[in-house]
Amino acid sequence: MADQQNPQLSGFIVERMELGVFAVDSSFNIVLWNHFMHTHSGKSWESLKGTNLFASFPELPESWLKRKIEHVFALGNYAFTSWEQRAYLFRFKHNRPITGGVDAMLQNCTFLPLRDAKGKVELVVITLQDCTDNALIQQRLAEAITVSDEERRKQQELIVKLEDAKNQLYQSEKLASIGQLAAGVAHEINNPIGFVNSNLGTLERNVTDLMKLMAVFESKETELPKDTQRELSKIKKEIDFEYLKEDLAALISESKEGLSHVRRIVSDLKDFSRVDQSGWQIADLEKCIDTTLNVVSNEIRYKATVVKEYGHPPLVECVPGQINQVLMNLVVNASQAFPERGQITLRTGEEGMYVWIEVEDNGIGIPPENQQRIFEPFFTTKPVGTGTGLGLSVCYNIIRKHEGDLIVRSEVGKGTCFRILLPIFHGKMGESEEIEFANSAPQ
C-alpha cells in the first residue's frame, strides 16, 4: 500500500517514527531495520542488512521466536506479544533511566505478514512499541488496587468481628445482669423468708398449745351452766369449730411446705448464678444437673419427661455457674425439639481423665448440613426474633475454655444427643474464673 500512496512519506514514517520496525524473510534474515531499532540496539541497518536475526542477536529466545515467526509465515495471520507476559523482545534500555524503576524497556510487539502478489507470505514485519510508561502506570494502579482490595477485605473482616464481639458482649452483659438480678432478688427474699419461717414455727407451737388448752376446756364444758353451754355450742357451729381445728394444723403444715419450696428455689437460683462463689471449684456435676433442672422445671414440665441415668462420676474441677448455664441451654433446647411431648435423658459417666454428661432428646433431630454449623455464633433455625443463635456457641466456648469438648450426634426424626466432656483435673483451683459469659441463663 505504501508505494501506492507516497513511498517517500511512508518510508520516512517507517524510518523515523517512535516505533521499532524490522522485518525478516523466511530464513530469518533481516531485511528492514528502522531508526528506532538502530538507536536502541546500537546496531545500524548497514551492519545488520541481510544478516541472520539470531546470529546478530544471540540473546533472543530463538526456539520460541522462530516458531512464532514460522506460524505467521505459514498461516498468514497476525501474532502478538504483550509486555504483561513477555516484558520485552529486545532488551533495550528504557526511556526513564532515573524515575522508572524498571530495568528494561517494556514492549508490545506485533508480527505482521507481508504477502507477495500471489498471496504467499514473503516477509514478516515486526513492530515494537515502547510501553514502559503505560506499563508503569498500569502496574502501580494494579498494585494500588491490590493494596486497597486487601485493606477493604481486612476492614470487612474487622467489621464482622466487631459486630460479633459487640453481640457477644451484649449477650453476655444481658445474661450477667439477669443472673445478678436473680441472685439479688433471691438474697432479698431470703430475709423475709427467714423470719416468716421462724414465725411460722412459733405459730405452730402456739397453736398446738392453744389446742391443748381448748381440749381441756372442751372436756369441762358439761360442767358449765346450760345457758352458757348453748351459747358456746351456737358459736362453735357458727365458726365450724370442728373443721377449724383440723384446718388450722393443715394450713400451718401447708404453709411450711410452701415456704420450704420457696427456700429451695431461692437457694437453687443462688447456686445457679453462683454470684457469691464464682471461680474454679470442685463440683458434683449431678448436683449441677439437679439444680439446673429445678430452675428450668417450669419451662420443660409440659413438654418433656426427664429421665436421669446417673453413673456417679467423680467430682470435677470446673466453674459450676458456667456448667449450669451449658446444661440449662442444652436442656431447654432439648425441650424445644419435640413436636408434641418427648423425653429428655440425662446421663453421666466417667471415661479416662474425663467426666461426661449426655443430654439426649427423642425429638426432630438436626439435619446433617446444619450439624456443622450449630456451634457458629448467630446460627439459628428458629424464627427471626425467637433465638439469638448464641446459645450453643456460648456453650461451646465455655466447654472449650474448660479444655473439654462438646460433641453432637443427631439423626433427623430420631433425636439429638449432646455429649459434654470435661477433664476431671485442671490445677486452676481457687483462681477466679476468666471465662466469658458468667452468670448467664439460656437464650
Binding site: L75, G76, N77, Y78, F80, S82, Q85
Partner: protein, 202 residues
C-alpha cells in the same frame, strides 16, 4: 444477530470454516512435523443468554482457561477460545517453549492459542470470502475459571452469537478447543452479504 443466517449461509460458513481450519491445520502440521487432527467445525447460532450453558456443555464440570481476540475489517467481532485447563500446556513445546512453564508463560501460550485458532478460523473464512481482516492483540479472560464464568450475557451487547465447536488434536497432545465467534448484531448482515457473494461465485 437479528436476521440471523439462512440455512445456505450457515452451511457455507461451516464449509468455509472447515476449509480455513483445514488449511491452517495442514500448515501447522508441516511446521510441527506432527499430525494435526481437526474435527469438522459444528456451527450453531445461539441466544446470547445461552452462551454460559453452551460453554459448560462443551467442557463439562472442569476448570477452563479462556482468551479472546477482536477482529475488524470486512466483518467485525470477537473470537473466544475456551480450553480445559488440563490441556493448556499441550501445545507449549510445539510453540517453542522449553522446560516447565511459569505462570506468565502459561498465559502467553493461552494467548497464542486464541491467536492461532481464531486467526485460522476467522482468517480462513475471511480469505475465502475475499474480505480483509485485521486482528487486535488477544487478551486473557481467565485461567482455571468456572466454564459458567467465561461469558456473562448481561455484559454482552448482542442477543445472538455464532458458536463454532472444533476439536483440535496433535497426535498424543490433546487440546480440545472451543471457539465462539461473537458478531455485533449489525455485523451479521455484512457477513451474510459476503457469504452470498461467495455462493454466487460457485
Amino acid at each position: 444477530m437479528n436476521k440471523g443466517l439462512s440455512e445456505d449461509q450457515t452451511d457455507a460458513l461451516q464449509e468455509l470454516a472447515n476449509i480455513g481450519m483445514g488449511q491452517a491445520g495442514d500448515s501447522l502440521a508441516r511446521i510441527w512435523k506432527e499430525f494435526v487432527h481437526l474435527s469438522i467445525p459444528k456451527i450453531a447460532i445461539v441466544d446470547a443468554s445461552r452462551l454460559p450453558a453452551l460453554i459448560h456443555g462443551f467442557v463439562g464440570d472442569t476448570a477452563v482457561s479462556a482468551s479472546r481476540q477482536a477482529f475488524h475489517g470486512g466483518f467485525r467481532g470477537e473470537v473466544l477460545v475456551v480450553v480445559s485447563a488440563k490441556d493448556r500446556n499441550g501445545l507449549a513445546n510445539l510453540m517453542g517453549y522449553e522446560g516447565q512453564l511459569d505462570s506468565v508463560e502459561r498465559e502467553e501460550v493461552l494467548l497464542d492459542i486464541v491467536n492461532l485458532l481464531g486467526g485460522a478460523c476467522v482468517g480462513g473464512i475471511a480469505q475465502q470470502v475475499n474480505a480483509e481482516i485485521g486482528f487486535s492483540a488477544p487478551s486473557l479472560i481467565g485461567e482455571d475459571i468456572d466454564p459458567l464464568d467465561v461469558i456473562h450475557p448481561d455484559q454482552l451487547a448482542i442477543d445472538k452469537a455464532l458458536s463454532l465447536e472444533v476439536c483440535f488434536q496433535v497426535e498424543n497432545r490433546s487440546l480440545t478447543a472451543h471457539l465462539v465467534i461473537l458478531l455485533p448484531n449489525n455485523e451479521v448482515g455484512a457477513l451474510a452479504e459476503l457469504l452470498d457473494q461467495f455462493l454466487c461465485t460457485l
